[in-house]
């Protein structure tokens, strides 16, 4: 099967072209480095089926950085290159094009973001560019799909050409010569978006704008999440599912092994979705009625911010702070993604250059950035006792994030590398593609969460029945009650926490904890270990040795912070 590679500078729309060509589902956003992994999809060309690979962005083919090495390596296995270039940045993009042409592989050039180029008063003579490069050039706007059909048609005519090899200097001269002949720029006045872009990067206006953006995002996430819970999901469960389950409970005889697994324990003779812990009651209520609404509202807001292009600006504004933690501003991206789910957050640590940075970022994220599923459960469970207690948990985590980062920066040898980042222009989010991304992420949550939640509940029910929980509770009781002041039953939540953090928090519900105990155990559950899905990714990204160190830090911090909170939080909480 022929292999087609999509290669180009970061943030030129390779993933958007990829998704148009293959129909495959990939995340598309307006910031450099959205794609950190190769994604493969398939395209039908007449009778032939071809593999298409979305390669992470690279500025050149000099094997000087990891991303570039990987791109060079990929080139060896490809049969054809679709070189995606940003029509609004022809000159810089053409450098990579020339490097690609010099290699012995057929190339077709895609002039993406063509619509924006027109708005910006940039005229490119496509015919002339084709002549000068000697390969087909197709203007496209991948977000709307314009030009993709022509691209597919013209893929057939792509041939290998011989192109003179050049030195760095000669290549830039040739780029200059080409640009001079094909591009005309008509001066246009700054648009509203461009003015807003400038304001949000100047510190005097940018910092207040950042505060407003974060505040509004937070409010939308909260209001939409709460709204969906109280007006959609809780009524659905209470009015439709509960009567059904009540009948089923009677049918099963209100107790017994099968009843306990499917329906759970009855609380005062009734099913309680929060506390019964059966597969069909709590097992469905937790992912659908407690977590899903917040996943939806979080990814709605994140998707809009990503597509608009706000995140790189935030990265620049927080660069100073991040340097105190041994990181640079762009490390805010894995943290923000981690708030949704730690798995993409862990993958995004690839945006960072060195081993030291990856270690710091991954460890800080795993310890102090709870995922939205966990946050939703904390808000649901601890929030019942009062908002101030939820606040305590998040303040502790935020302080930990800063302190640990500063400690790492201090004791780990090396320094935080400087930021170099291309800041994309603001773009109005395309509603269709934003909705598609939201759907993709929500579905990904359901597909990965629901089975694990059910598995967790199943395992815990079995362990209870086999008295293994009682045994572990006795073994770990010195730490649990001695250090943390928690009843030893909390061990069951810590056990399930390896699998899924949301159910783990949920398991604290039926334990009749005091508010102080609830705050401590929720905080420990956030810190002590990432869920297994994140753990696997972190082992891959950091290597076994660094991940081992990271895990030790997590356990130690959990022990310490739990004990400290037990000491300083007043008992009447």
């Amino acid at each position: 099967m022929r292999k087609i590679l999509l290669i180009g500078n970061p943030n030129v729309g390779k993933s958007a072209v990829f998704s148009r060509l293959t129909g495959a589902r990939v995340t598309i956003a307006n910031y450099p480095g959205t794609t950190v992994e190769f994604t493969q999809g398939f395209l039908r060309l007449g009778d032939e089926k071809a593999a298409v690979v979305d390669v992470p962005g690279t500025y050149s083919l000099h094997p000087t950085s990891k991303a570039e090495e990987v791109a060079v390596e990929m080139l060896k296995s490809g049969n054809l290159v679709i070189n995606v270039i940003d029509a609004t940045n022809l000159e810089r993009n053409l450098y990579l094009s020339l490097q690609l042409l010099e290699r012995d592989i057929p190339v077709i050039v895609v002039l993406n973001i063509w619509d924006d180029a027109k708005h910006k008063g940039i005229d490119i003579d496509v015919k002339k560019l084709e002549q000068l490069l000697g390969v087909p050039v197709v203007p496209t706007c991948a977000l709307t799909g314009e030009g993709i059909h022509e691209l597919i048609v013209r893929l057939q005519e792509v041939k290998s050409i011989s192109y003179p090899a050049r030195s760095d200097m000669q290549r830039w001269q040739e780029v200059g010569r080409i640009v001079e002949q094909v591009q005309k720029i008509h001066h246009k006045h700054h648009s509203l978006l461009e003015n807003l872009a400038d304001l949000s990067i100047k510190p005097l206006t940018g910092l207040p704008i950042a505060a407003i953006v974060i505040y509004i995002s937070f409010q939308i996430i909260r209001k939409v999440g709460e709204g969906l819970i109280s007006y959609v999901f809780e009524p659905l469960f209470d009015n439709l599912w509960l009567p059904l389950m009540a009948k089923f409970s009677l049918f099963l005889g209100t107790h017994g092994f099968l009843h306990d697994i499917l329906i759970g324990r009855l609380i005062n003779g009734e099913i309680d979705f929060g506390q019964s812990f059966g597969l069909l009651t709590t097992g469905l209520f937790v992912p659908f009625a407690m977590v899903l609404p917040y996943i939806f509202s979080f990814y709605l807001v994140l998707g809009l911010l990503e597509d608009f292009g706000y995140l790189p600006r935030l990265a620049v504004l927080v660069d100073n702070i991040m340097h105190h933690l041994g990181l640079h501003g762009y490390a805010i991206i894995p943290m923000i993604l981690g708030l949704g789910c730690n798995v993409p957050g862990a993958l995004a640590t690839r945006l960072l250059e060195g081993r030291r940075e990856k270690f710091i970022a991954a460890t800080l994220m795993a310890i102090a950035v709870p995922c939205m599923a966990q946050i939703a459960m904390i808000v649901g469970l601890v929030g019942e006792r009062g908002g101030q207690f939820v606040a305590i948990i998040f303040i502790v985590l935020a302080l930990l994030w800063f302190t640990l980062g500063m400690i790492f920066h201090h004791i780990l040898r090396g320094e935080s590398p400087a930021l170099t980042l291309e800041i994309p222009p603001y773009r109005m989010p395309q509603i269709l593609s934003t909705v598609k991304k939201l759907r993709m992420r929500t579905e990904a949550f359901l597909i990965s969460a629901v089975p694990y939640v059910l598995l967790g509940i199943l395992i815990i029910n079995i362990l209870y029945t086999l008295k293994i929980i009682d045994f572990l509770a006795t073994v770990f009781s010195p730490v649990l009650s001695g250090f943390w002041g928690l009843p030893s039953e909390v061990i069951s939540a810590l056990l399930v926490g390896f699998l899924r953090k949301d159910v783990a928090i949920g398991m604290l519900g039926p334990l009749n904890l005091t508010t102080k105990q609830l705050v401590i155990s929720s905080t420990i559950l956030a810190i002590y270990f990432p869920c297994v899905a994140t753990f696997i990714i972190l082992v891959k990204e950091l290597g076994v040795k660094d991940m081992l160190k990271s895990a030790l830090v997590m356990l130690f911090v959990a022990l310490f912070v739990g004990a400290l909170l037990n000491l300083i939080l007043p008992a009447y909480l």
Binding site: Y95, G206, V316, N320, L421, E422, P425
Partner: protein, 78 residues
């Protein structure tokens, strides 16, 4: 007048005359569009020796303070 990028004030423009550093650094700057002969304009500078934001052609680039110090420009007025 030759200044480095950190000395250029927001709103000022210049032509890159020299990039001080090894081949790797120069290449990295070139790939972001910063190379000798290019016109740059300064957009802003973050507080406390933070990243410097410049515009070259159609792209905005943030580069660290230390790196910006090593890019020299001849200031011009239009």
């Amino acid at each position: 007048m030759v200044l480095d990028l950190t000395q250029l004030k927001p709103g000022e423009k210049g032509i890159v005359v020299e990039i001080q550093g090894g081949a790797g650094f120069i290449r990295r700057m070139q790939c972001m569009g910063i190379r000798e002969g290019k016109r740059v304009s300064k957009i802003s500078a973050q507080f406390l020796r933070g990243p410097q934001i410049i515009r070259i052609d159609n792209s905005q680039i943030a580069i660290g303070f230390g790196m910006a110090k090593r890019v020299l420009v001849e200031v011009f007025k239009d």
